[in-house]
């Protein structure tokens, strides 16, 4: 007989509970058969999914067609498509400031530029990082971990770290000071703040995408490179003719994934800038959050309408991603 | 007690009918072996008996009680799986105890039964190891042990030896036979292996495409196969089949023309043959003997497999293939001509539906 281990001490009461649960479940199994047990196992998950994901999804549409500040649906008045037309009501469609909901269009514009620049730069850096990590490095897993570190940090921590660095007495100004430059209050400058949001979110997420790209790179059969080497192919040509084409499906998935995440940008930017200065870093999710909850003039219906528009964009992106994934799978099978 | 009776058992997966009208009566203590080509439904039949699959029609009775709606757990049977299906995260002892604990057996009795089984199977030395730390043969014993401790009314074994190497198979086969002798319980055994079937079975059930082709003792099947399929399936290498025409029927005897005109005489028995009828003659490769008679049919040797103790000849006889197993070592080469005597070996005659019409005893030399 072995002495009881720590894990068995912990598991003993759990096992006892499970044994007690077993008796009624056996009866259930008798009554419903093995097939009925499938429903039993699926039920908790489906219940939670249903209540907290599917149901909200459905009532979101109802919300977007009601007005007022109340949160309970029964206290809200049906107003049809008024929230949507409010979002789209502009005097001049080329100038967001002429729209009734100028904040929405500012957020849309900011998000658009943010997504465009952030995803492009981030995928580029992630690709370079992955290519470098894919070389024959000493201590590769250490280096991989280095780039991955910020991915685990919470958005709040990320926001605070950079707020601390970018503030007037911060590390950035200290660095500039060493080169004889004047300290600057970065986070009060619209352009610099926008640039900072892009830089910070690249810093925080790049490692994740580098990791996926690296996995794609490592899936490329080594013998292809060896064959190319036998043919005396130049490294640049190897990259353009072998690495990139074979990586393309993987890279495409990564790009769409990055787009999906980038459109929803919120947490770390909210902590870093609060959407300011002014509305220069106000993004869509923050707009929805503030319209729905935070501002004194909250309008849940409007927020719901805006979130549905955003959801539409995400659905399109996700379908593209699934489409790419499917194609990749089929290719793999053949 | 372990009497199992199947009446009209049907099983289909969706539109695919896997078992068709299975009738079978297995007596208590009998060792029954299911054989048949891959995909014919042997495992499905076994799993249906076990209660792991629900029948789509017919009746299953165990000891006279209808068990169609009784779950696998409550049928009182034990099963040994092809992959052994030992619980990888439990020690050998826990593997054996699991089923007993589930039926709320007192601890002392569990220990006693496990120890007894361990002694019987000589697995005492590794009771505290996990399956991953055992060899294939040891795992196999544990799997059998897990069945034994349950003291089931019948054992169901699905190709239990197929994952062992050839040598281990032979020794384990003998042990299984001994085990059955000692326990005396009903065993139903699925296999691909002819030798296993012939050596272990009281009765063999030959299946094809979801149907039972024949049930009988090993020698019945070997000597009097019901049809061409059974004849070809039992015995290795398989029986030779030669096209033949009935030339003449006179009294007790019929005269057949085989291998491009060679005449053989067969005793009719109860069978009816009519002149001009097309039949098939079956002859086992082991029954062929070389003949010096210049009238015997000539066979062109294509390939010689010298196995030392015997020699297998692959040849052509009047455009048909012929296999012969000759004793000892023969001086034959590919391209040689050799003559075989077709008048002395036992001959089976099948009609054009493959049903055996008669067996001519021949004169064993």
């Amino acid at each position: 007989m072995t002495t009881p281990s720590l894990s068995s001490l912990i598991m003993a009461p759990v096992n006892a509970v499970m044994r007690i649960i077993d008796a009624p479940l056996r009866r259930l199994q008798k009554a419903t058969g093995i097939g009925g047990m499938a429903a039993f196992f699926l039920a908790p998950n489906m219940l939670i999914f249903g209540i907290f994901v599917l149901l909200p999804l459905v009532i979101n549409f109802v919300y977007s067609m009601t007005g007022g500040t109340a949160f309970f649906l029964s206290e809200r008045d049906f107003i049809g498509g008024a929230q949507y037309s409010r979002l789209f009501e502009c005097q001049n469609y080329l100038d967001p400031m002429s729209c009734q909901e100028d904040a929405f269009w500012t957020a849309v514009g900011n998000t658009f530029w943010f997504v465009l620049i952030q995803v492009t730069l981030m995928i580029l850096t992630a690709l370079i990082t992955a290519l470098i990590l894919n070389r024959e490095l000493a201590a590769r897993s250490f280096w991989r971990a280095v780039f991955f570190f910020p991915v685990l940090l919470s958005p709040v921590v990320v926001g605070l770290i950079w707020k601390w660095i970018l503030q007037r007495q911060g590390l950035l100004n200290f660095g500039l000071y060493q080169f004889g430059m004047e300290p600057y209050t970065w986070l009060t400058d619209r352009t610099w703040t926008f640039a900072a949001t892009i830089g910070v979110s690249i810093w925080a997420h790049m490692g994740f995408y580098a990791l996926i790209i690296l996995a794609g790179l490592q899936a490329i059969p080594k013998d292809l490179y060896e064959a190319a080497e036998m043919d005396g192919t130049k490294p640049a040509r190897v990259f353009w003719r072998i690495t990139l084409p074979l990586l393309a499906p993987n890279l495409l998935v990564v790009v769409v994934l990055a787009l999906i995440k980038s459109v929803q940008v919120f947490d770390e930017i909210y902590v870093l800038t609060g959407g300011g200065p002014g509305t220069s870093t106000l993004f869509l999710t923050q707009y929805i959050y503030e319209t729905g909850f935070a501002s004194a003039l909250r309008n849940p219906g409007l927020a719901a309408a805006a979130s549905i528009l955003m959801g539409g964009v995400l659905v399109v992106l996700t379908l593209i991603q699934l489409g790419i994934g499917k194609r990749g799978e089929n290719k793999g099978k053949r | 007690m372990g009497e199992i009776k199947l009446t009209d058992v049907k099983k289909s997966f969706g539109a695919l009918a896997v078992l068709k009208d299975i009738d079978l009566h297995i007596k208590d203590g009998e060792f029954v072996v299911f054989v048949g080509p891959s995909g014919c439904g042997k495992s499905t039949l076994l799993r249906t008996i076990a209660g792991l699959e629900k029948v789509t029609g017919g009746e299953i009775e165990i000891d006279g009680k209808r068990v169609n709606d009784v779950t696998a757990a409550d049928r009182g049977l034990a099963m040994v799986f092809q992959s052994y299906a030992l619980y990888p995260h439990m020690s050998v002892r826990q593997n054996l105890a699991f089923g007993l604990e589930n039926s709320n057996m007192p601890k002392a009795e569990i220990t006693e039964r496990i120890n007894e089984a361990a002694r019987m199977l000589e697995i005492e030395a590794y009771m505290d190891r996990r399956p991953g730390q055992l060899s294939g043969g040891q795992r196999q014993r544990v799997a059998i042990g897990r069945a034994i401790v349950r003291r089931p009314t019948a054992f169901l074994l699905d190709e239990p030896l197929s994952n062992l190497d050839a040598e281990l198979r032979v020794s384990t086969r003998a042990e299984l036979a001994a085990l059955h002798g000692r326990l005396g319980s009903t065993m139903i055994y699925v296999t691909h292996d002819q030798v296993e079937a012939m050596t272990l079975a009281h009765r063999i059930v030959v299946m094809r495409a979801g149907k039972i082709e024949q049930v009988g003792t090993p020698l019945e099947l070997y000597n009097e196969p019901a049809n061409r399929f059974v004849a070809g399936f039992i015995g290795a290498p398989h029986m030779n089949f030669l096209k033949a025409d009935v030339v003449e029927v006179s009294g007790e005897m019929a005269s057949l023309s085989v291998a491009g005109g060679y005449r053989v005489q067969v005793r009719l028995g109860h069978a009816q043959l009519t002149p001009g009828q097309k039949v098939t003659v079956g002859v086992r490769p082991q029954h062929l003997v070389v003949s010096n008679d210049p009238l015997s049919p000539s066979v062109k040797v294509r390939l010689v497999e010298a196995l030392g103790s015997e020699t297998v000849i692959h040849g052509d006889i009047a455009g048909e293939k012929l296999l012969a197993v000759l004793p000892g070592q023969q001086r034959l080469n590919a391209g040689d001509e050799v003559r075989f005597d077709l008048t002395t070996p036992p001959l089976h005659v099948f009609d054009d539906n493959g049903i055996r019409l008669l067996t001519h005893a021949g004169q064993v030399v």
Binding site: D22, L25, Q29, M37, A39, F41, P44, N45, M46, F52, V53, L54, L55, L57, Y63, F71, F72, L73, T129, R135, S141, A145, V146, F147, F149, L152, S154, V156, V157, I161, W162, K163, I165, Q169, F174, Q178, W203, A215, V253, L257, Q264, F266, V271, G274, L284, P300, S307, I308, G311, L314 | L52, A72, D74, M79, F81, L86, Y87, H89, F98, N102
Partner: protein, 350 residues
């Protein structure tokens, strides 16, 4: 040493420095500094006193100006290294400063006043860790509560996540039933529904259920994650069905099969999901921010962001609490990073 250096500096082809080697090293070392530097800078800063934090240019390590109590003076005096006219330096305490001249005394001989030009003296600084940056928020603010709330949410949500998702994965991988593919599709579809899309109606549901301003309101909506179901289902598909049949023959109930057979065998995948879930729930921000409006219910993330958003930010506390918030994640990073990276590389899920 030579061997180590050669190993670390191993280059393509082995001879000479190809330009790609230089880029590689530039990138890696730069990455090391940029990825770790900010967090380390923050950690160092968290030990500084408010005065040291306000300094510019900042020092890297937490220094404070030394003080000494000198006989005859009530308040402690600042210590300086003063350059004497004869070129030597003495440690003196400053009594007062008049224009460009500082009146100083020798702490050992406080009788005599020495006049020193203020440009000839520099403060004596010693390293000192302001540990009360850490203790104060716990003792005088609610951060201990926030820490507890965060731990509670993380642990409970992770446990429920493991149970609920493994049950669903079990059903979806080991049973054939009508509507199985529909269930899979529904779960897949929810991958497309991020919180930002449904936060308004979700909030109303939480309120209707009376879960507003409750930690359960934070926990429940997150526990049925499609990612979890997928990771576990994928793993369970590799468990042979014969094992389940064997257990059925062994009189195990379906619940026992789940609990005694399938779950133990799924342990590696459960571990990955548990690690993911801990990181997710610990880091959650937007949803707790919406659901929790009472101070005593804040999680660390919400508390931090609220305090850091105040007009008069007490950075020394914020920095210290940020470090506290970072600790579990850094521990996960140090010890379990490999699990996560292989998990991500294998599933492409975050």
């Amino acid at each position: 040493m030579g061997k180590v250096a050669r190993f670390i500096l191993r280059r393509k082809g082995g001879q000479g420095w190809h330009w790609t080697d230089i880029v590689t090293w530039f990138w890696l070392v730069g990455g090391l500094i940029i990825m770790f530097g900010p967090a380390i800078w923050l950690a160092f800063s968290s030990f500084k006193t408010p005065a040291a934090l306000a300094e510019f240019p900042p020092s890297i390590l937490p220094y404070v100006t030394s003080q000494a109590t000198v006989e005859g003076y009530d308040k402690p005096l600042m210590l300086y290294d003063a350059k004497m006219p004869d070129g030597s330096t003495r440690v003196l305490a400053e009594v007062r400063r008049i224009g460009l001249v500082a009146q100083m005394v020798d702490p050992k001989a406080p009788g005599e006043i020495v006049k020193v030009n203020i440009n000839d003296r520099s403060p004596v600084r010693t390293m000192s860790f302001a540990t009360n940056n850490y203790t104060e928020p716990f003792v005088h603010f609610d951060f201990l509560r926030y820490l507890w709330n965060s731990v509670f949410v993380t642990v409970v949500a992770t446990l429920i996540t493991l149970v609920v998702n493994s049950m669903a994965a079990f059903a979806l991988s080991k049973y054939e039933f009508k509507g199985r593919s529909l269930a899979m599709l529904v779960i897949l579809a929810t991958l497309m529904v991020p919180l930002s899309v449904i936060m308004v109606p979700l909030y109303s549901i939480i309120s209707t259920l009376g879960l507003f301003n409750s930690l359960w309101g934070v926990i429940l909506p997150t526990v049925a994650t499609p990612t979890g179901v997928f990771i576990l289902r994928q793993y369970m598909l590799t468990i042979p069905d014969e094992l389940l049949d064997a257990a059925r023959m062994d009189k195990a109930s379906e619940w026992q099969i789940y609990w005694r057979i399938v779950l133990p065998l799924t342990a590696p995948a459960l571990a990955v999901l548990a690690i993911f879930s801990v990181v997710w729930r610990w880091n959650d921000f937007l949803w707790p921010l919406i659901v929790l409006s009472r101070r005593e219910l804040y999680t660390l993330q919400v508390g931090l962001s609220i305090y850091s958003g105040e007009l008069n930010v007490q950075w020394h506390f914020i920095l210290a609490m940020t470090v506290v918030t970072m600790i579990p994640v850094v521990l996960v990073f140090i010890f379990l990073q490999r699990f996560i990276t292989t998990g991500i590389a294998g599933t492409g899920l975050k």
